[in-house]
Point group: C2
Chain length 245, copies 2
């Protein structure tokens, strides 16, 4: 038995999310089926973390324990022919048994894509969140600067479906840039609470629309209570971009 690490990209549109659930198709399950098809064995896929229904990944990382007889790179192709086109293995490497996709992660990077236009272009609709008018990106930048660093992010998390020891997290790097009609929010942190990225995106969109003041970001953080002031932005704009080890 050896441990292997795979980088996986997926289009989350058709899935109920990462984690296996009854009566719905999850990405983890489709991957496990592909490993089973390939090896004839039941192989448990460990992800770096969950993604919600409709959320995408450009660089999810998983690990599996398996007896592979050929060089790992051969498994990239062998798995991809067994996977639907909306899930792709990008790379594979044998790793030390101490490596763990979730526990070994030093930081995770998410990107949130916002498309600013009166009408949404059809070919972007599954991969952007649509806002009808140009946002005030300067105000959003200022709100973001308040969120960067170590804080109790309870006010920016949905009721978690599992207990967490602490709601304190560190955002190492937070950037926001405009590219044509897109706004790209990038967050790299040591961990994210349930729906934390979408809550931050939802708050920033409100600030950018002029419906909230960037300076209120601090008092919302301090409140440590999630209220309707912080909406959860739509899943389709969100990509798990990269996991850093």
């Amino acid at each position: 038995m050896s441990r292997f690490r795979f980088t996986v990209a997926y289009d989350g549109t058709a899935y109920a999310g990462w984690q296996i659930q009854p009566r719905q198709v999850a990405i983890q399950q489709v991957l496990q089926k592909a490993f089973c098809d390939l090896t004839g064995e039941s192989i448990k896929v460990h992800g770096s973390g969950r993604t919600d229904a409709g959320v995408h990944a450009a660089g999810q990382v998983i690990h599996v324990d398996a007896c592979f007889s050929v060089p790992p790179v051969a498994y990239v192709r062998a798995l991809n022919v067994r996977l639907p086109r909306d899930i792709r293995i990008l790379s594979c490497a044998q790793v030390d048994d101490s490596f763990h996709a979730r526990k070994s992660a030093l930081s995770k990077e998410y990107r949130y894509f916002i498309y600013q236009a009166d009408i949404m272009l059809p070919h972007l609709r599954l991969y952007r969140t649509h806002v009808h008018k140009k946002l005030d990106t300067e105000a959003m930048q200022q709100a973001l600067a308040i969120l960067e660093g170590t804080h109790d992010f309870a006010a920016f998390s949905a009721n978690p479906d599992r207990e967490v020891e602490t709601t304190i997290r560190t955002i190492f790097e937070a950037t926001l840039r405009e590219e044509g009609q897109d706004i790209i929010l990038s967050l790299r942190g040591n961990g994210f609470l349930y729906k934390m990225v979408r809550s931050i995106a939802g708050w920033l969109i409100r600030v950018g629309q002029g419906d909230a003041k960037f300076a209120d970001t601090q008092s919302i953080l301090d409140s440590r209570v999630r209220t309707a002031k912080v909406p959860t932005a739509a899943p389709e704009g969100l990509f798990l971009w990269k996991v850093h080890y």
Copy 2:
């Protein structure tokens, strides 16, 4: 009765193409149904031209004759609520009765998107053509320069399903640029033969892969015969970008 011009964008993935066909869902048909839902009348939608199955549009133009009682702009919203999310009306204007979406077009602009990477990213798979290795864009540029201008493009057209008077067309502007891992081919011409853009893209990809020499472009043009040397590139990379009047 007045004439109205609409600009339409669509994701062609789910459709059998623009034109109404038996036992398949066409974009023209979905638009006609939306007009019928809105007005209660049977309204014929005239497009600037057809697009094939799986081909997208960022700026298809149509005209209709109808008795609209409110300002045209109100129809944008009213039609979009009746259309699936993969078809969007972008704008509407009343036009002179002499305007015709196809006959009045001075030129049409198509863009063809090629994604160069070992493995295709899932969220791009429906809107890019995938090539596994970096292409020689310099050779492609040189082939493209030969195709620019007025030529008999018979060798770059699939067997047309309708008779055409002439296979001579003018490409006013042909550009090719790289953006990250994308290659974007842009062609603006006074008209395009059946599958002409995809044939040009297919040939350029062959040249870019080193499977054909750019200098052979001239002899293929001169032959006026379509052969296997010119493959038809995949539909998903193609967008009808803009129609100029």
